[in-house]
């Protein structure tokens, strides 16, 4: 209670190179984050390919809010709050499906899939017609970029383009890996729950310091060369784009190696169909460049993480509980590569993943650690002396440096300081 009545002094909790442990453990701070971050800024909701046909719907979340992402009969994507305006019942209870309308199971109110109230039993019980007045709540703003659907519960604020800022081109870069210029999410999601604050996950996604330590076991038995890219002498970099977004950019290493598909640990010859389609779509030279660069490793604040072959969505449940939803990226028009991406994804991530189960262990240990009293702070000073600020404000550091975390916290502070 004391924290609620006393204004939190963000400046005192967030310094340039250290943050206070209570930022991960204080329930009042978590509730304030919901209001100032999750219910105010742009949050990734889902991908249009998850609801390909008219009347397809799927349940998603924005913070703790459950939303129905639904394509109406005209093909327009809507984001609706899953709450009946009559008595507050959950209107949609199936995780996904196809429906022209939703009928509340409590008193039979019926809503079209664009949220409009179409009818209700015994209308003479109301003096006026309630249709047009009461409907399903709509997420205040919804915008889609290259199939990625974002929602904001705030009616005004920066546009999605402003929010994505310098990170937007990473999505352009991603979709080029499909010979048809589109990605699809068609393989369903794994849901991996961790007893940890959501920001530990955000920070870890573009932490290039940990892989050689945390993932030593799988790098050792799989004899994977990927771990070697995360060392201080690597030409890979960490980049902070602003607005909380960041990436680990391994392209300098892959360009050095100069072999298409090395980013995926394979060769052109192993994916002949994909290679042929890419060359047909982009021409030999550009296809080669795309297939050398591969997909980048990007964290779009606060909840979308594109990890080369996977897409993660972070969902906070409580101050110390978070779910990672993860699926394989699928490139439209690339069935042979897609099969490999699904297989590698299943090995790497999810509750039993060779990589993610160890990341999850660190999330949970850090959560327990920051509940201890001494020291009170977390130190984020790595590489502060050697990072470079570009003319566009983008900050670049050594791949093992804390550049992304420092940037994220400054953005976080600006969001939390806002009235």
């Amino acid at each position: 209670m004391e924290v609620e009545t006393k204004p939190v002094r963000w400046k005192q909790l967030i310094h340039d190179d250290q943050v206070h442990g209570s930022l991960y453990t204080d329930e009042a701070i978590f509730r304030e984050e919901l209001e100032k971050i999750w219910y105010r800024t742009w949050v990734y909701v889902g991908h249009e390919s998850e609801i390909p046909r008219p009347n397809d719907y799927i349940l998603k979340t924005i913070g703790l809010e459950e939303v129905i992402m639904v394509r109406d009969r005209r093909g327009v994507v809507n984001l609706l709050h899953n709450r009946c305006p009559h008595r507050g019942n959950r209107v949609c209870v199936s995780q996904q499906g196809n429906a022209r309308s939703f009928t509340c199971a409590y008193h039979g109110w019926n809503f079209s899939n664009d949220g409009e109230l179409k009818g209700y039993p015994y209308p003479s019980g109301y003096l006026e017609d309630k249709r047009g007045e009461l409907g399903l709540g709509r997420v205040a703003r919804m915008q889609s970029y290259k199939g990625f659907v974002f929602g904001s519960l705030a009616a005004s604020g920066p546009t999605l383009e402003e929010h994505l800022g310098a990170a937007r081109e990473t999505i352009d870069h991603l979709v080029r890996n499909s010979p048809e210029g589109e990605i699809e999410l068609t393989a369903g999601f794994l849901q991996h729950k961790v007893r940890s604050n959501w920001k530990f996950l955000v920070e870890n996604e573009t932490d290039g310091y940990h892989p050689q330590v945390v993932h030593a076991s799988i790098f050792e038995v799989a004899q994977s060369g990927i771990g070697d890219l995360y060392n201080e002498n690597s030409s890979a970099v960490v980049r902070y784009f602003g607005n909380g977004h960041s990436e680990l950019d391994l392209r300098p290493e892959f360009r050095n190696i100069d072999r298409p598909m090395r980013w995926f640990g394979t060769d052109e010859e192993r994916v002949p169909d994909y290679t042929a389609r890419m060359k047909a779509a982009y021409g030999d030279q550009m296809a080669r460049e795309i297939m050398i660069d591969g997909v980048r490793h990007v964290m779009i604040f606060p909840n979308l993480f594109i990890a080369e072959i996977q897409l993660f969505v972070l969902q906070p449940l409580a101050v110390d509980e978070t779910v990672q939803h993860v699926t394989a990226l699928q490139f439209k028009g690339a069935p042979d590569l897609n099969k490999r991406m699904r297989s590698q994804t299943m090995g790497s991530v999810g509750p039993a993943g060779f990589l993610l189960a160890d990341d999850a262990e660190m999330y949970e240990r850090t959560q327990r650690g920051v509940q201890q009293r001494n020291p009170e702070w977390l130190y984020l000073g790595r590489g502060k002396h050697r990072e470079q600020v570009g003319q566009d404000g983008v900050i670049t550091g050594n791949v093992t440096d804390d550049t992304a975390s420092r940037g994220m916290w400054q953005h976080y502070r600006s969001l939390m300081e806002a009235a």
């Binding site: 393989a187 849901q191 991996h192 945390v214 099969k339």
Partner: protein
């Protein structure tokens, strides 16, 4: 049920108990030796009848990936198993579903209690085995583990289920 069938069911039951014990005891190499060369270890997500070649599964290991999984556990650096989960499981409801030449299909249920640094977790599964007699002993050709809550968000599942 004939006497031969009863003997066979008894042998299958003993096999399942042994597998459960090796898993509980983290006897990784002994557990791996229960697999046939073409073994497939499958833990589906989001239902029980998904197509594992098209949809995400929690585990979908071919034989070489089973070896990788065991190999990772044996490095001593698999942090999520440091310290190891303390496990105790009960396997029951064992039914012989089908027999074709040297191949048996078996179903069982399992309740697994896990205690680790996060806390205590109970896992409930239906297990479907395809077993093959190789040189006189049973080997796992396929083990499918259907978690009762596989459509929900799950904590890390890093022991052998």
């Amino acid at each position: 049920m004939t006497a031969d069938e009863m003997l066979e069911l008894c042998e299958v039951t003993q096999f399942i108990y042994r597998e459960a014990r090796l898993q509980d005891d983290h006897a990784y190499a002994d557990w791996e030796s229960l697999w046939a060369d073409d073994g497939v270890y499958w833990v589906p997500a989001n239902g029980e009848d998904i197509d594992p070649d098209a949809q995400m599964s929690i585990i979908y290991d071919n034989r070489s990936r089973i070896a990788l999984r065991v190999g990772q556990l044996r490095t001593g650096k698999r942090h999520t198993q440091l310290p190891r989960s303390r496990l105790r499981r009960v396997a029951s409801n064992i039914e012989l579903i089908d027999r074709q030449a040297d191949t048996l299909r078996v179903r069982a249920n399992a309740m697994i209690f896990e205690s680790n640094s996060r806390g205590e977790t109970v896992w409930a599964t239906r297990n479907e085995y395809t077993l093959r007699r190789v040189d006189g002993v049973l080997r796992m050709v396929r083990k499918k583990v259907v978690l009762a809550n596989n459509d929900s968000a799950l904590y890390s599942l890093s022991f052998l289920i």
